[in-house]
Assembly symmetry: C2
Homo-oligomer: 145 residues x 2
């Protein structure tokens, strides 16, 4: 597996071990991880810190010129919030672990010129399937259902 997708999956696994929603993300600039994170709904009672948002928050305040050279890695297809955040900051590329569990706003991203790559990684998928079987209500809350 790609080393950065692996890092995102490691974040997802950490979230799972904390009793949280196992979605992880890393923000990569010029081949280096500048922010990493995972969904914090359970751990921090946060409704905005999805994995991608947590990675961006942990990267701290960056100039637009940095975001415009970044790739965001995420274990799951990005929801409308995380999609909009990528559009706000002009992140040009996203690598997605899988979109079988949840199909996010990939079409909107593409329509705005963002490069979308889907790895269809089975480990990302199996982790989400296990979690959803265990805590379906928590998962629904996270995607506004």
């Amino acid at each position: 597996m790609d080393q950065f997708l692996q890092a995102a999956l490691d974040e997802a696994k950490q979230g799972y071990s904390e009793g949280g929603i196992p979605i992880g993300s890393v923000l990569v600039h010029n081949g280096k991880i500048i922010g990493r994170g995972h969904n914090k709904r359970v751990q921090e009672g946060s409704v905005v810190l999805h994995g991608e948002m947590d990675a961006l928050e942990n990267a701290g305040r960056q100039p637009a010129s940095v975001y415009q050279e970044c790739v965001l890695y995420t274990t799951l297809s990005p929801c409308p919030m995380c999609t909009g955040t990528m559009l706000l900051y002009g992140i040009p590329k996203v690598v997605i672990g899988e979109n079988r569990t949840f199909m996010g706003e990939e079409e909107l991203l593409r329509s705005r010129g963002v490069t979308v790559e889907v790895a269809d990684n089975d480990e990302c998928y199996q982790l989400m399937q296990k979690f959803i079987q265990e805590k379906p209500a928590l998962w629904n809350e996270d995607i506004g259902v």
Copy 2:
């Protein structure tokens, strides 16, 4: 002025008094404010806590059924991130103080069935104009420019 837009403007003014970006928001459910907030880029070094996001975060974890009965008030037209967050949680209506300073994703919101009302309030506008004149680089950072 509408009492809820006034509450959002009060949040924006508080942000300004803290040296921050003066954009405020309140989340209203059945005629009652359940979350209020303002942009925290300066105060908390946050890249995700725009006014709308801060209001949602401060409302805490809510079931989808609550979000679907809410109105979000914001002093400025919502950026792609805040727009995506409204779409994620199914918030059906947004009342916007002004969109002369910044035109957000109002068309995307409308295309997804969200009711968009623009108050074109001059006090919201003048506060942003004063801020941008004082701190143009900070403003550009907040909108990814």
